[in-house]
């Protein structure tokens, strides 16, 4: 890609091999067909080039002499020869068409497959991967890396193939025509390649500078435009422009230099090509004098040369046809095509790196099933009964037992850190009996959210035990464990789709009536009906056309429709104003009834009626009890909610 320094990658060969193995796995026969077509094209092309020599030497020159001698020339043999060549040409055209069609199916199919593999694998990665990798970086694998791969597979490779076909066939024709001239030509091509490599290297510095400056300008624009309203409020426009001008000027300087250098390569190569014509003409002339070379041979050779340099300088022209958004392909540079392949390989490297990430492991085997009591005994049911049980298979004696799902959750001396060297939770002990509402309070960073991350095993604990209905949660299949919790998070993420679809996300087979009922429960029905298309209103860009509060209401409805046995509410109502919250609260209370619920909130009204409030500080539980008990205690909780100093 123009404007990009050639990136360093560790094992380009290995990555290429892997890419090809992906290609071969699904498209072996097609690739063999492509190779056959290539051979046919080369053959046809050689016949065509050699024909010029035959035309001049075997027909035109003798016939000319005949004509000069007054004999009426006989065009019959010439016509026959031309028909023969026409057949070869026909073969060439058909082969080229079949080849590019096949390559298109192969390349697009492979890309589609790569994309799916990537996404499928990504969905299976643990939450930790997403927490430890910048989302922008993950996205760039899809938007940039797959995209450069797309260009490489669907453009650069076919182009290189075509170029290679022409070069090979031209070289073969040349050798057939005249060996000394071929040697002269090869020497000139070597000079051209050296010259352009040297020039590319010399301009490398400028490309790096350009790239760095692009980064700086884009970063500045992003930061300032994001904060544009603040800039306005502080009348900071002039300063903001001044900062921008500086960076913009630097970018201009470096871009100008880099572009100039890359622009030089084209004319240099083209004119070196012309110099080779001269050299070949001189050598050819000398050889013709020495008389083992005919006029037809020289003419055919020149045409071959034109073709060769045409490929070298114009071969990459098809890259204008990069229907990509940045038209950043090079002018006149076949070597740049290699560059774009190297870029793509670097992209492939990142794609494979993501595919090599270890997926979330799940050694759990206890599953959550619908249950009913038949003959006084708890057994599995094949329909929704509103009652759940843990299906526990015991390997030792081969029996299966059913444990009722009640929502009894116990933390026993749990230690946890996101990295091994820094613990964020210390010796957490808590016990939620079925149906209890447990509130977690404390300042930011105290570890409240971390606890909820552990309950549904987004992360695994370092030490201690978490038991769910007296089963170690490590034994429960993750999907079932998570399905048993409804989660409403502070950052409500909605998906592109209608309001209806977004609520239905909680239960994919829910009827429209169920969706509306869930929306009513969350008190979202009112505002949804006021939306332009009601429940069919499309939400875009993470629900940006809704207010934060409305989005939270939808998230609550989404959790409600799932009708989960237990709930985790992490600041679920923080952006809903208190009046609305009061109304939502009724729905929430209905939702929480009979379910074990973990609530994180900084608003007193949300948590005051909890069965147990846990006050956290720096990864430890420092106080626990009911609202009244904790107020009476007069320590941290009292201080948090009254704004007064703790009672000593």
């Amino acid at each position: 890609m123009r404007g990009m320094p050639r990136p360093r990658i560790e094992h380009p060969g290995r990555i290429l091999a892997r890419l090809f193995s992906v290609l071969f796995q699904s498209y072996g026969p097609q690739l063999i067909l492509v190779v056959c077509c290539i051979i046919a094209s080369v053959f046809a092309s050689i016949q065509g080039t050699l024909f010029t020599k035959t035309l001049i030497d075997s027909y035109i020159t003798p016939l000319m002499e005949e004509s000069a001698a007054g004999v009426t020339p006989d065009y019959g043999p010439l016509l026959a020869a031309m028909l023969r060549v026409a057949c070869f040409y026909g073969l060439g055209v058909v082969a080229a068409y079949v080849q590019s069609m096949t390559m298109m199916y192969v390349s697009q199919g492979t890309l589609s497959r790569l994309r799916k593999m990537l996404f499928e694998h990504m969905e299976k990665l643990p939450v930790k991967y997403f927490d430890t990798h910048a989302h922008g970086d993950i996205m760039s694998i899809y938007t940039n890396d797959i995209d450069t791969l797309r260009q490489m597979i669907s453009q650069s490779i076919p182009q290189l193939l075509n170029s290679a076909i022409t070069i090979v066939s031209v070289l073969v024709s040349m050798i057939v025509l005249n060996i000394p001239l071929t040697i002269v030509t090869i020497l000139m091509v070597a000079v051209m390649l050296t010259a352009s490599t040297a020039a590319t290297k010399a301009s490398g510095k400028n490309f790096v500078a350009q790239q760095k400056n692009i980064g700086a300008v884009n970063g500045y624009i992003e930061e300032m435009i994001t904060g544009q309203k603040v800039v306005k409020v502080f009348c900071h426009e002039q300063e903001s422009i001044r900062g921008f001008d500086e960076l913009n000027e630097a970018l201009y300087e470096s871009a100008f230099k880099a572009q100039t250098f890359s622009g030089f390569l084209g004319p240099i190569n083209a004119q070196l090509g012309n110099v080779s014509y001269v050299l070949c003409a001189l050598t050819g002339g000398a050889l013709a004098l020495a008389s083992d070379l005919t006029a037809g041979g020289v003419a055919a050779f020149f045409l071959a040369l034109v073709q060769l340099f045409g490929v070298l300088s114009v071969g990459s022209l098809a890259s204008f046809l990069t229907f990509n958004k940045n038209f950043s392909m090079p002018i006149n540079q076949i070597s740049m095509q290699f560059n774009s392949i190297i870029m793509a390989l670097a992209g492939a490297d990142r794609v494979f790196a993501l595919m090599d990430e270890k997926p979330e492991e799940d050694e759990g085997y206890v599953t959550l099933v619908n249950a009913e009591i038949r003959d006084g005994e708890l057994t599995e049911a094949d329909h929704r009964t509103g009652r759940w049980a843990w299906k526990h298979y015991h390997k030792a004696d081969g029996t299966t037992t059913y444990v009722p799902q009640e929502g009894d959750i116990t933390f026993l001396g749990v230690d946890f850190g996101y990295t091994d060297d820094k613990m964020v939770l210390h010796d957490i002990r808590l016990h939620a009996t079925p149906g209890q509402k447990i509130a977690l309070v404390g300042s930011t960073g105290a570890g409240k959210t971390t606890i909820t991350n552990l309950i549904n095993r987004f992360y695994d604990i370092q030490d201690g035990k978490i038991r769910y209905d007296n089963i170690n949660i490590n034994k429960i299949r993750k999907a079932d464990l998570r399905q048993s919790f409804g989660m409403v998070l502070q950052d409500t993420h909605l998906f592109t789709g209608t309001v209806m679809e977004n609520i239905r996300y909680g239960k994919l087979d829910a009827t429209d009536e169920e969706v509306v009922a869930a929306a009513r429960l969350a008190n979202a029905d009112g505002f949804i009906r006021r939306l332009p298309q009601g429940y069919d209103t499309m939400l875009h860009g993470d629900g940006a056309n809704l207010s934060q509060g409305q989005r939270q209401l939808l998230a609550i409805a989404r959790a409600a429709i799932a009708d989960p046995p237990a709930l985790i509410l992490d600041e679920a109502t923080s952006s809903i104003d208190t009046r609305t919250e009061k109304i939502v609260q009724d729905g929430m209370d209905k939702l929480m009834k009979g379910r074990t619920t973990f609530v994180i909130a900084h608003r007193l009204s949300t948590i005051r009626n909890s069965d147990c409030i846990l006050v956290m500080e720096q990864g430890r539980i420092i106080e626990s009890g009911t609202h009244e008990e904790l107020l009476a205690l007069g320590k941290k909780y009292y201080q948090l909610y009254t704004g007064n100093k703790a009672k000593e």
């Binding site: 970063g219 572009q259 014509y277 050819g284």
Partner: protein
């Protein structure tokens, strides 16, 4: 649209015009070469005249050098003009955005603006560069080659003419229909990436609902869809190459056949030489290559049209707020009056956001504003520093209509801490000095003490010189809010507006900040929007907003008496018991 963009070429106009001229020079040089080559064959090879080959060779070298010079000058001017255009476009957009009012900013989304200034500009830069390189060159070399062919043999050249017209038509039609598909496919492509983006940021939701398989099948469907669209688009493009090759081959055969007849001639009179035949065959290749280039340009221009349109939109957007002709340059005091104000964000919406607002606030008063989501609290205060203009009625600050002030003067005196606030990359000091570039270290620290930000800042390893990352990602929500308050305080404004600016700050600190305000800046008019009753109850007066109207106004105890909404909010937050703050 193109006019708007073309204006931005500015000082690079002559450079941009000269570039294609150099390209024409290069083309002419390139086109002379085949003629010379033909002469070498005819006179040098047939005549076995090495001396002639030598002199013609020398001429070829000279022509090549001239071509090199033209080519390099072309590249230089092209690079200068296109980088210059990009620079000017970025600058013009950035400058114009700086003049945007809030409603202009609302119109374009933030990310939209960023894309327009980065990706779209790069698109235009690349297209412009290619246009300069190819727009004259490709048709030019085609025309020159055609002329040369006609010069050599009008009869044979007419074969090219027919072939070119045929190919131009075929390519144009195929490209046109392919472009349509490609446009559609890229839209889908963006949508696909958007859904990946959603999955990445909402991975917790996906995992919590165990919807991995659901998402995968959705993705696969979309990916298949894109696959099929790509295939239908590329099918058309791929057909071009074989059609071209077939045409070239037909031309070569026809020319060879007819050329042979002409060379051999009738009765020993030949109308063509072998060398000329070779030159003609060379031009054949040239002409078809140029045709290919022209079709690329066609595609390229269509593809960057969208970028050009998006840029032009930003450039031609005019700020909806302008300074008056003779602006008032001084804000007398911090009094605020709303007279029968009606306000809406756009002219078309049926329901105004604010209506019938009549309000008078004395200088130095502290006012709390409370109300449900969407009750237009923020809209109300945004009118004070003229972030938006009223539709009816007027807003007076210091007894003067806000529209009569110089905007900068007004905004320096009315400090707003926005709900969606941002810090910028730089040290804490640098961020604070947005409020007052000349503030001393002591003044900065004092502001931080008032905003209760001093404690955590001093705990940081580098204190006030700690670097804030872009978007303030290395400080917590509450810390960010306090820094933003301190930054606003440094303006030493007559009016201070806090738009839900302490929502992430714990109750105790919130109370401390309010106490500091009351004691340290008693003369500043303070407007505090809050969700918590405890944040506003000690204000001189509290405004209760409901659905774009003032529902009630008065002191805490008055409102408890008279205002149903206020009472309800209060009770919902305290559970009907006495408030804790009053227990002291």
């Amino acid at each position: 649209m193109l006019k708007t963009l073309a204006k931005q070429i500015g000082e690079f106009k002559w450079i941009a015009i000269s570039s294609p001229l150099f390209m024409i020079g290069e083309v002419i040089c390139e086109m002379i070469i085949p003629v010379l080559m033909g002469q070498i064959v005819d006179k040098g090879i047939y005549g076995k005249d090495l001396g002639y080959i030598g002199t013609t060779g020398l001429r070829m070298v000279i022509v090549a050098l001239a071509g090199l010079l033209c080519g390099m000058l072309g590249a230089y001017t092209r690079a200068k003009a296109s980088s210059g255009l990009a620079r000017n476009l970025r600058k013009a957009m950035f400058d114009n955005v700086q003049s945007f009012s809030f409603s202009n900013i609302d119109k374009f989304s933030t990310s939209g603006l960023v894309t327009r200034m980065t990706t779209d500009v790069t698109n235009i830069q690349n297209s412009f560069q290619m246009l300069l390189a190819m727009a004259v060159r490709a048709p030019g070399s085609m025309i020159v080659a055609m002329c040369m062919s006609f010069y050599l043999s009008a009869e044979l050249a007419s074969i090219y003419l027919v072939a070119v017209i045929f190919l131009a038509l075929v390519i144009f039609l195929l490209m046109k229909s392919a472009t349509k598909y490609f446009k559609a496919v890229f839209e889908k492509y963006d949508a696909l990436n958007e859904s990946v983006q959603e999955n990445v940021s909402a991975i917790r939701v996906v995992k919590a609902y165990v919807r991995e398989d659901h998402e995968i099948s959705r993705f696969e469907k979309a990916a298949d869809n894109i696959y099929h669209m790509f295939i239908s688009a590329e099918k058309r493009v791929i057909a071009i190459a074989p059609i071209m090759t077939a045409t070239v081959y037909t031309c070569i055969l026809l020319i060879s056949w007819l050329g042979a007849h002409m060379i051999i001639g009738t009765g020993g009179v030949s109308t063509l030489t072998t060398g000329e035949l070779m030159s003609l065959l060379t031009y054949c290749l040239n002409i078809l290559m140029s045709l290919m280039m022209v079709s690329f340009i066609f595609v390229m221009v269509t593809m960057s049209e969208a970028s050009a349109r998006r840029i032009a939109e930003v450039l031609s957007e005019e700020s909806s707020l302008t300074n008056p002709e003779n602006p008032v340059m001084e804000v007398r005091d911090g009094s605020i009056v709303f007279e029968n104000v009606r306000f809406a964000y756009n002219d078309t919406s049926e329901e105004p956001v604010l209506r019938d607002i009549d309000l008078s606030i004395r200088s130095g008063e502290s006012i709390g504003i409370i109300g449900g989501t969407g009750s237009a609290k923020s809209s109300l205060v945004n009118l004070i520093s003229r972030l938006y203009d009223v539709k009816d009625g007027r807003v007076l600050v210091g007894g003067v209509d806000v529209r009569d002030y110089d905007m900068e003067v007004l905004r320096d005196q009315v400090a707003v801490v926005l709900q969606k606030n941002v810090l910028f990359s730089g040290t804490i000091y640098e961020n604070l000095r947005w409020g007052d570039p000349d503030a001393t270290d002591e003044e900065c620290q004092r502001a931080c003490r008032l905003a209760c930000a001093d404690e955590f800042i001093e705990k940081m390893p580098e204190g006030y010189d700690t670097r804030i990352e872009q978007g303030g990602s290395n400080v917590s929500g509450g810390q960010k809010q306090r820094l933003c308050i301190a930054r606003a305080l440094l303006k030493k404004p007559r009016i201070l507006i806090l738009d839900d600016s302490t929502s992430a700050v714990d109750t105790a600190t919130d109370a401390k900040i309010r106490r500091a305000f009351a004691e340290e800046i008693p003369d500043t008019t303070k407007l505090i929007i809050a969700q918590r009753v405890s944040s506003v109850e000690n204000c001189d007066r509290i405004i209760v907003m409901d659905n774009g109207r003032i529902h009630g106004i008065g002191t805490h105890s008055e409102l408890i008496e008279n205002d149903a909404i206020y009472r309800e909010v209060y009770e919902s937050q305290t559970g009907g018991e006495r408030d804790f703050d009053e227990k002291k």
